[in-house]
């Protein structure tokens, strides 16, 4: 090992000097080609959304627009048709916001309370419940759909905002609870013990000590839930109800509405609009988004 370590500097690749070797060029060629594969659909979507239909009918999907128009964006936002109604995807946007905000508050808050209680307090059966909840994360939604439909229908809540909010809270609970539990478990136990000795109660320790200390993990949780809930299609389709359809469902209805000529430019503008929130979250949060994915996916 000593032999390997001492001349290591001269033997290991020095990328900055070796930039022009064929191997380096090969590496960059592969990386750039892959980047093009990932970016191409975004590029096509972008330019299609600002082309007039005449250009789309005659031209090439990769060609830059000759005449730029923002009419498709305006149309997608406020007058594209989903079946008989022609109010654009803005309806879906506001529905998604109305679904997102309460779902976020409820699921993240419950997740942090669950995580705190599980990490520091002895509660009967808690381990069992937590175990079942973790297994629940793997269960495909169809297995639970019909009974949930019947349960919500029996209390007259089926297909309403509270319905879809509770559904997101149920299905978001495994990951939220796990995220916070692991975070609180990683804090030094002495903090909690000191607070207990000072006579702090369950809620006082939570609000005055744990909550302020767990802001980073709150950010991760918010990012995870925002993209997850915003991108949901199946649950919104079934539980939100026709007048509350989220943006993804509205997008699908606009794309597959069969009336008249297909307006590809409007469709692409609508798709971009529907992807705006998660894309902004992703590009702004960057590192945090990856941390959310990595929170547990990568271990050992």
């Amino acid at each position: 090992m000593t032999i390997a370590a001492s001349p290591g500097n001269t033997l290991s690749p020095r990328p900055r000097r070796a930039f022009f070797t064929p191997a380096r060029l090969g590496v960059y060629f592969f990386l750039v080609s892959a980047a093009l594969f990932f970016l191409l659909p975004l590029y096509v979507m972008g330019i299609t959304s600002i082309k007039p239909m005449t250009e789309i009918r005659e031209g090439n999907i990769f060609a830059l627009p000759l005449a730029i128009t923002f009419e498709p964006w305006a149309q997608a936002w406020s007058s594209a048709c989903t079946g008989l109604e022609c109010n654009g995807i803005s309806v879906g946007f506001w529905n998604s916001v109305r679904i997102l905000i309460p779902s976020l508050v409820l699921s993240v808050l419950l997740g942090s309370i669950n995580g705190y209680a599980l990490a520091y307090w002895r509660v009967k059966w808690a381990g069992w419940f937590f175990g079942v909840l973790m297994l629940g994360a793997f269960i495909p939604y169809p297995v639970m759909l019909y009974p949930l439909v019947r349960m919500f229908a029996s209390v007259n809540m089926f297909q309403s905002i509270p319905n879809i909010v509770l559904i997101h809270t149920f299905f978001g609970m495994p990951i939220m609870t796990l995220l916070f539990r692991n975070y609180y478990s990683s804090l030094p136990i002495e903090l909690f013990k000191a607070a207990r000795i000072d006579g702090g109660s369950f809620w006082r320790i939570y609000f005055q000590l744990m909550l302020p200390m767990s802001l980073p993990i709150f950010v991760v949780a918010l990012i995870l839930q925002t993209t997850g809930i915003w991108n949901d299609f199946l649950l919104g389709l079934i539980f939100a109800g026709r007048e509350n359809y989220p943006m993804t469902v509205q997008l699908n209805n606009i794309i597959n509405s069969t009336q008249g000529e297909k307006l590809y430019n409007v469709n692409m503008a609508a798709t971009l609009l529907a992807s705006m929130v998660p894309l902004v979250v992703y590009f702004v949060s960057g590192r945090w988004f990856v941390r959310g994915i990595a929170a547990g996916a990568v271990k050992g």
Binding site: F38, P41, P142, I238, I255, P278, Y282
Partner: protein
């Protein structure tokens, strides 16, 4: 895609660990504080019992009855399961998802591994490349399906471009053909999820000691053999996580298909979740749909159980050491 299972996979061992504050809490905590902790966990208990356990049992019960439009309380044994596996549509959906799963998982693992390895070559602009490879993972499967439906459009899409560039006889109408439509879905979902594999494997790669490469280099091992024979085996746990995550997402495949092909042409891209949703909400055949759901659940258990078992063994071993 929800990232739910991803995190769960990694830390499943945490489920069995006792709360760290438990000892002190139970000694000093009066009845009042213990009561508060119990109350705080009531929503979780209710969710587990009602949304998960009761729902699954109810679905299991319906799958053993003659239920059509409404649940019935009779017993039909495994008749619904027999019907299910005699249904051509279900068998087609299974064959489709099997083919999709094989090609997609193989493709995502190979692409994700290559991306991770090439990014790990101390390249410039590493952050930019990583950001590009993962951004598609943040958007919805519906949007993903719509984008690729447009790219694959047989009259105005890539085919037209190829022809306008001079390849007059170019044919690229996969999305409209029975045999190839499923591969269009594979490409679209690969585009969506390959970045996830890259992120998982890159983190695994970063955990491998640099000294290994130095030693291998002295032995005259070429770089590609180093990655294939030395790095790949060490990435075992990361690869396992990635494959299980991908497999679980394959079983759930629905949104992308609905947006892209709606199961067509014919039944060329029909998938189990679509079969279930159609039978639940349009064909009013909840008994059959429940049998299909239970079959799906069993499939997921078969995929996930070995992983959870391997992890708990590994953690138990680590705990003793």
């Amino acid at each position: 895609m929800r990232t739910g299972p991803s995190a769960v996979l990694g830390r499943s061992e945490a489920a069995d660990a006792p709360p760290r504050g438990a000892a002190s809490a139970s000694k000093r905590g009066g009845p009042k504080t213990a009561w508060a902790a119990h109350t705080a966990l009531l929503p979780m208990g209710a969710t587990v019992l009602i949304a998960y356990v009761a729902s699954i049992l109810w679905t299991l019960r319906i799958s053993l009855s003659n239920s059509k439009m409404l649940p019935r309380n009779d017993w039909a044994g495994v008749a619904q399961y027999v019907n299910l596996f005699e249904s051509d549509r279900w068998l087609t959906a299974l064959a489709n998802i099997g083919l999709f799963g094989l090609v997609f998982i193989a493709g995502a693992v190979v692409l994700g591994f290559l991306l991770a390895v090439f990014i790990d070559q101390k390249v410039r602009l590493e952050g930019v490349f990583r950001t590009i490879y993962l951004y598609s993972f943040s958007i919805s499967f519906v949007a993903c399906g719509v984008i690729w439906q447009w790219m694959f459009n047989p009259t105005l899409g890539i085919q037209r471009s190829l022809r306008s560039w001079g390849w007059e006889s170019a044919r690229f109408d996969w999305i409209a053909t029975q045999d190839m439509a499923i591969y269009c879905v594979v490409i679209a979902v690969l585009w969506h999820s390959a970045g996830l594999v890259m992120a998982i494997l890159l983190a695994g790669l970063r955990g491998i000691d640099d000294e290994l490469w130095k030693a291998a280099r002295i032995e005259g091992v070429p770089r590609w053999r180093y990655y294939l024979n030395i790095v790949l085996p060490q990435l075992g746990p990361s690869l396992g996580t990635a494959v299980v995550l991908l497999a679980v997402s394959v079983v759930k495949l629905f949104d992308a298909v609905v947006a892209m092909t709606n199961g067509g042409p014919g039944d060329a891209t029909d998938v189990p979740t679509k079969f279930i949703i159609d039978n639940l909400f349009e064909r009013q055949n909840i008994g059959l749909a429940s049998a299909a759901s239970v079959t799906m659940l069993v499939t997921v258990v078969i995929i996930v159980a070995p992983m959870v078992y391997a992890r708990s063994r590994a953690n138990a071993a680590a705990g003793r050491a």
